[in-house]
Amino acid sequence: MRQSFTAVIERNATLTGEFATEPYEAAWAREARWFVRVLDSAGRAPRMLVRTQISPDGLHWCDLDAGTEQSVDPADGPLHSWPAEGFGGWLRLHGTVVDETAAGTSEDRDGAPASVKVLIYLALKS
């Protein structure tokens, strides 16, 4: 029987601006799939732009597959998913929360940065 494990990489986390998730070891897994569940968001049409990143050592990172960017737009629904293939031993997400006014840490009328509150799952299978 194949092994599997779903790791909750972020739980109930409010993300703003540029972020990277904690390093996660997944060398044992042949399959990996990210799930992002949006719980809440703030700003003018906020969304997350994220890339899967890989590493040989958990310290130094580059984009997987020349940086295919995923757009996690709460307007498209609460749950988003995409696979990661050929990732070696380590996985993380690197991304930015943006909204309509500008990329990065744009601010809404109340002066608060655009934000998304999310659960990020990494589903792994041998």
Partner: protein, 311 residues
């Protein structure tokens, strides 16, 4: 020529032969074959699944990892047996704690023994993580490495309820909060703050509070100081034997063996909760935790675990 049968045929299995189990083996967790029920601890949430109701200091104990003990200088170190160990990791945030828990119940009362082979590390430095200049680091002398003083503490503990709820706890305090080397085995003199106590307005702790016992004054040393084998740099993994015996018939500690030292724990108290808890009859949980005292990730690795009982 005849050969006498082995006194304990279980120990003919090389995977078990490195342990010293009591009569009945409840669990043998070889992390080359999955996580065996070890999972992140989280505080309780409400009937809606609203994660905002989880206590802040019990909301981010990090998912355990099946680690090949992979490092920047040597690549895959591997575990004591096979490739994979269970890794519990902190965030690079002073006071952050990583916790993995295993959940059982008791079908009897008596001695319970937790054995593991473990290793502990602080994260190696990189330009991004800034570990070389983070608090606790010092000067490299080609023997002792500054990262050894960037490892805070590791803990092995229980959560048990037979009508009375209590925690047996042993903690290896590598450094104090000022990064001074301690090498002490410690126990808490108070029971762990619970989500219900928060719900009742009795306690509210910040995100990086020490969830086992938040006040450093509530920790006491037992036994002699003991130096372990960090082995100079943050990328060498040496496995340590740990054998811890408690007695659930008397809600007490018995002894802790770590490598060649046996600490008598018969006089080390186990503080019970004064109040009763429902929904927990025969609860028998074990958790391991790792706590950083600086802005550097700390890691606890378990090669394998064996839990045995005498009932």
């Amino acid at each position: 020529m005849t050969t006498a049968p082995h006194p304990d045929p279980r120990l003919l299995d090389p995977k078990l032969a490195k342990f010293n189990p009591l009569r009945r083996v409840l669990a043998h967790d070889d992390f080359n074959t999955g996580t065996h029920g070890w999972i992140e601890l989280i505080g309780n949430h409400d009937q809606h699944g609203d994660l905002d109701t989880v206590d802040a200091h019990m909301s981010d104990f990090r998912p355990p990892q099946l680690s090949s003990c992979n490092f920047f200088d040597v690549g895959t170190h591997g575990a004591m047996s096979g490739t994979y160990a269970l890794k519990v990791a902190t965030r690079p945030v002073t006071g952050h704690t990583g916790v993995a828990i295993r959940r059982l119940t008791m079908s009897g009362r008596g001695r319970v023994q937790f054995e593991t082979y473990f290793a502990y590390k602080a994260e190696a430095a990189s330009a991004d993580n800034g570990a070389a200049t983070a608090a606790g680091g010092g000067t490299w002398d080609a023997n002792n490495h500054p990262s050894e003083q960037q490892f805070g503490a590791l803990t092995v503990a229980t959560d048990i309820c037979d009508g009375v709820r209590y925690h047996n706890v042993v903690r290896y305090q590598n450094t104090d909060l000022d990064h001074t080397v301690q090498h002490r085995w410690m126990y808490p003199t108070v029971p762990e703050p619970t989500p219900r106590e928060h719900f009742e307005g009795k306690v509210k702790l910040p995100r990086t509070a020490d969830f086992t016992a938040p006040d450093p004054a509530d920790w006491q040393q037992f036994g002699e100081r003991q130096e372990l084998c960090f082995n100079e740099v943050p990328t060498k993994v040496n496995w340590h034997y740990l054998r811890w015996v408690i007695d659930t018939s008397t809600r007490s500690n018995v002894e802790l063996q770590v490598n060649d030292v046996v600490h008598d724990m018969r006089d080390v108290p186990v503080p019970p909760y004064d109040e009763e808890y429902g929904s927990l009859q025969n609860l028998l949980n074990f958790y391991v935790s790792v706590r950083t005292h600086t802005d550097v990730r700390n890691f606890l690795y378990l090669d394998s675990v064996l839990i045995s009982v005498d009932w």
